[in-house]
Point group: C2
Chain length 150, copies 2
DNA sequence: TATTATTGTAATTTATATTTTTACAAATAT
DNA sequence: ATATTTGTAAAAATATAAATTACAATAATA
């Protein structure tokens, strides 16, 4: 399939809103111009983030979206779970021959080991806040402006 | 896109070969019957596993594929890297507006944090061997035969 | 109050990743 | 020799995500 960049784009949207709040009108069109996504996709993602309690938005003219809580209190895991729900990090093939010893037991076996790996990754995401991401973005921008290549 | 189950299927194939070696003819067609995958896909995956040094195969009639080393010495990470190569666990949207502070710096920022999370997951996979997986499958099969539901 | 800008959401279309199918030359056992 | 099977490529089918189109609902403002 097409590769999904929902998670990456959701972080982008929240960082953009936090950085540009009060500086430019935060319409879905302006945000879409930075993410280079259709404004409909931006609104869909924002709707999802709103339902997850990470974002507050308004309908109609002069919208003014803002983070529902401080960027320090939003972890990358919060954002990941908001947009990916229970999508597994490692996919399991559930369409196997149940008559076979392997085909009949591989799913539950892999579920266990995959879960361990997934938990380790999500725990790391839980230790990174949106504020960390924004700070890193701003540092990289200053480095760029100072002519420092990395 | 269609969801890829390459990793899951590759583990299945290796476990199947290990368990049924010497018991039934290990043709790609027989293996495909357990994985419920086309025999062409099975041969492709086996070809990939062979190139990665995990499997030994023969062409022609009476093929006799076998693990290239003991199942204890093959980790799930070895298999993952063989079939997924450098495919990232978390996708980054590289198509953003480079003129924007966020769009111009988000990729390198996320690469860093995503890498930490990915490494944590892959480290867990590195601690699980194909032998562990096979043992778990055989235990689950015995439980099933004993009428124990889990 | 009428007008304008924008959101929120659904339906359709398009793009693209993955698997399946088809095909066949090459390899090997019998 | 013949039959079986691999290894691999090309084309078709399938699945999922994003883009596009459309429009009613909402809210600012002239």
């Amino acid at each position: 399939m097409k590769v999904s960049t929902r998670f990456s784009d959701a972080i982008h949207i929240l960082a953009f809103i936090n950085i540009y709040h009060g500086k430019i009108p935060l319409t879905s069109d302006n945000i879409a111009g930075s993410v280079e996504l259709s404004s409909v996709m931006v609104r869909k993602l924002m709707s999802t983030l709103k339902k997850a309690g990470l974002l507050e938005t308004k309908s109609g003219a002069s919208p003014d979206p803002r983070l529902a809580k401080p960027a320090e209190d939003i972890s990358l895991l919060d954002i990941y779970l908001a947009v990916e729900k229970d999508k597994p990090l490692f996919e399991i093939d559930y369409d196997t021959n149940p008559q076979c010893i392997v085909g009949g037991n591989i799913q539950k076996t892999l579920e266990y080991y995959y879960q361990e790996a997934e938990n380790a990754a999500l725990a790391k995401l839980n230790h990174v806040s949106l504020a960390d991401v924004i700070e890193t973005i701003l540092v990289k921008q200053k480095q760029k402006e100072a002519g420092i290549q990395k």
